[in-house]
């Protein structure tokens, strides 16, 4: 574990590497860019089509009619405006679940990095072990447990499991170990600051990039969460967007069901916009936080 801190600034390393150009790398990155943006372009183009236009036109170009705004309006009002409800549900799960997860990971990671207590090694082993277990594997046992508690089909069934993020905890732990110098804490203590004051006034600002990284990770995970809600929730009134869109998609595959692929596509577009905005706004922190977590020595 990184108890000896070397505050070698990352920026310096990056600058030392800069300047060289490689055609191969540029081409590869370009290809990667196209590969990544193509599905988005497809989504954007096809969100402008009506159901008929969608089926009757080439996938990567516009149909004759431009129906994006109609589609958005229909998506928001279809089936009594259930999409808005799903959006609000998702926001609730993200704010409480991912927000809570970040808070817990920060506090716990800081505590583990900066304080010595008996059983720390055991905690470390459990956390590392927990990182290795995929959430999907735990979904069914979690379901049975929540069912015994009578919490299935309630928002708690989504929020409570989302609060636990072993990976976030581990990230905060290593980040706190590096970003908050022990000397600073020492001097704060010598100056008479209590532990809480030290944490909020001194450590928290230093931890900000790490916190944003963990926050982004948990927001993305919670926003895209599919399998857990799938087995926990039955009532569409509590669905997050992922499940809701899937139920719209599945509706085409049943006797008497109405095929609404255009709304599924427009809904998907609306669903990813908040994530894109979050990334663009928090990009800076995200990069530095990720890099800091990965660097050792």
């Amino acid at each position: 574990m990184a108890t000896t801190r070397t505050a070698k600034p990352l920026v310096v390393r990056r600058r030392a590497r800069g300047g060289r150009r490689s055609v191969v790398l540029t081409v590869l990155t370009g290809l990667m860019l196209v590969y990544t943006l193509l599905p988005l372009a497809w989504l954007l183009i096809n969100a402008t089509k009506t159901q008929e236009g969608l089926l009757g036109s080439f996938g990567l170009w516009f149909a004759d009619d431009f129906a994006l705004f109609d589609n958005i309006a229909t998506t928001l009002t279809y089936d009594g405006g259930i999409f808005t409800r799903w959006l609000l549900n998702t926001v609730l799960y993200v704010v409480v679940g991912a927000g809570g997860a970040t808070l817990l990971a920060t506090v716990a990671g800081y505590g583990l990095a900066k304080f010595d207590f008996p059983g720390k090694k055991a905690v470390f082993a459990v956390v590392i072990g927990a990182v290795a277990v995929p959430g999907t594997a735990l979904a069914v046992p979690t379901f049975l447990m929540f069912s015994n508690l009578g919490l299935t089909d309630t928002p708690w069934a989504i929020i409570v499991p989302s609060l636990i993020t072993p990976f976030g905890l581990y990230l905060m732990w290593t980040y706190a170990a590096e970003a908050v110098p022990g000397e600073v804490l020492e001097s704060a203590r010598v100056d008479g600051a209590g532990e809480f004051r030290t944490f909020f006034r001194i450590s928290l600002p230093l931890l900000a990039p790490g916190i944003v990284t963990v926050l982004l990770f948990s927001v993305v995970t919670t926003w895209n969460n599919y399998f857990l809600p799938l087995i926990m929730l039955k009532d569409p009134a509590w669905y997050p967007l992922t499940l809701g869109l899937n139920s719209w998609n599945a509706q085409a595959a049943t006797a008497g069901g109405e095929a609404i692929f255009h709304l599924v596509i427009t809904g998907s577009l609306l669903t990813i916009i908040p994530l894109i905005v979050a990334f663009l706004l928090l990009q800076r922190y995200w990069q530095s936080g990720l890099a800091a977590g990965s660097v050792k020595e």
Binding site: Q51, T152, A255, G256, A259
Partner: protein, 444 residues
């Protein structure tokens, strides 16, 4: 995406079925709630709330009608997923012993699984046994077993040949009356227009079993917990496999999966010229394939012998009352309202295809002209098919699982020709029997 989700759901289902089929010993045995009509009336007047799990869209109006008639009863209609998703959820809820709905929509192929695991109530205690003759034979036989009546038929899917008349006329193809003519039409069409196919098929368990059913096959032998599968010795299976193999080997079926966006597209632009499918299809064509308006027609299902009159059921659902329901009387009252009483007409008016003989034979129903089908009286053909469903078919008591592994076995015959349909059916049989054995069935 769909595949991985399916296999996950399948895994979860498998896990829970293990407990369900072995008899959920830890849950309290509910009291046998026999009830007469007066009991039901009293329950309806006392009122209460029932939770209904169903994805069928017209049930919304049925629930509204039911509440208007019995103002003290609240119906909470919940779409807990379509088909397999809902079965997984229901198995999980039954296993967990909480969150079980009072009424659940179960497709006919899935009902035996829940009936055998005692997941659903025997409705004969409420007088369902006296409904003999109310429903057409196909669906009525599908909800009954020696143990009782496990659900009431909500809709039915007697099969027919839906064909794109415009495509047929363009290439001078006559409507096939036999499967031999159907194969000839498939060749003629694809030769005339390489982009057009007689139909689509990438391996569909429901379609395959229905086709074997129509051919007079009875590959599944089920007697309580004794289960046997024999595709190789089943003449119906052989007939179907021999004919269909020609289509698959000749690449005469479009490699498009049913219900995909490509499928809806193909139905509209003439790529897929026919569908042999259940009678609920008109509503789907009308709402999902607007580009096909005026082009489609319906004819009787092609026959294995010229002049024959055999048909089969494809799809269709029942409404059942889970054993763990706390309010079975109200639940049954709702099921009866939706499947026998006023609810049937509500659903028919909304475009559903009923399972009740009264509605099927009503002149207003059979005489209805469908503008989408060029004014054809489509229901005449479909109702005739309902009366011709071959007798003696049964599904496996773990058909939900079996169908979930269909694509891993028979599906291979469609992908690269590494196996034939018969070879695939053999692997499907082995996989199904193995699973049955693991679940505690005695396999023959």
């Amino acid at each position: 995406m769909t595949m991985s989700r399916r296999s996950l759901a399948g895994a979860a289902l498998a896990l829970c079925l293990a407990a369900a089929a072995c008899g959920s010993g830890d849950t309290a045995t509910p009291s046998p709630a026999a009830a007469s009509d007066t009991d039901l009336k009293a329950a309806l007047e006392a009122g209460g709330t029932i939770k209904v799990w169903a994805w069928e869209p017209t049930l919304k109006q049925v629930a509204a009608g039911f509440q208007a008639k019995y103002p003290k009863v609240q119906v909470e209609l919940v779409n807990a997923g379509t088909g397999n998703d809902q079965y997984t959820a229901l198995q999980n809820a039954v296993k967990a012993g909480s969150g079980v709905p009072d009424v659940a929509q179960l497709e006919y192929y899935a009902l035996p699984q829940f009936a055998l695991a005692k997941g659903v109530t025997d409705l004969s205690a409420f007088g369902a046994g006296q409904l003999d003759g109310t429903f057409t034979p196909g669906p009525w036989n599908a909800v009954r077993s020696a143990q009782g009546v496990h659900g009431l038929p909500m809709d039915s899917g007697p099969m027919a040949l839906f064909y794109n008349k415009e495509v047929f006329d363009k290439h001078g193809i006559a409507v096939p009356a036999t499967w031999e003519e159907y194969l000839a039409a498939a060749k003629k069409l694809h030769e005339a227009d390489p982009k057009a196919y007689i139909t689509n098929d990438t391996g569909d368990a429901g379609f395959t079993t229905s086709m074997i059913w129509q051919a007079g096959g009875k590959p599944y032998k089920v007697d309580g917990t004794k289960v046997g599968i024999d595709f190789a010795a089943d003449p119906g299976t052989q007939k179907f496999a021999a004919a269909w193999q020609q289509l698959v080997s000749g690449k005469l079926v479009a490699p498009i999966s049913s219900w995909s966006d490509e499928w809806y597209k193909g139905l509209g632009d003439g790529t897929i010229a026919t569908l042999v499918i259940g009678a609920w299809m008109p509503a789907n064509l009308e709402s999902g394939v607007k580009a096909g308006a005026g082009k489609w027609r319906v004819a009787p299902m092609p026959q294995w012998e010229a002049g024959g009159k055999a048909s089969a059921e494809n799809g269709g659902s029942s409404l059942a009352v889970p054993e763990a329901s706390a309010n079975k009387k109200l639940a049954y009252a709702f099921v009866k309202y939706a499947t026998v009483e006023e609810g049937v007409q509500t659903r028919v008016d909304a475009g559903a295809f009923p399972a009740t003989t009264a509605q099927l034979n009503a002149p207003a129903f059979t005489g209805k002209e469908f503008p989408y089908f060029g004014g054809q009286k489509v229901n005449e053909v479909l109702a005739a098919s309902a009366a011709q469903v071959a007798a003696g078919w049964s599904y496996l008591p773990f058909q939900v699982y079996a169908n979930s592994v269909f694509n891993d076995t028979v599906g291979k015959a469609y992908v690269d020709g590494s196996t034939t349909l018969l070879g695939g059916l053999k692997s499907w049989q082995d996989a199904s029997l193995k699973y049955g054995q693991e679940q505690g069935f005695s396999v023959q």
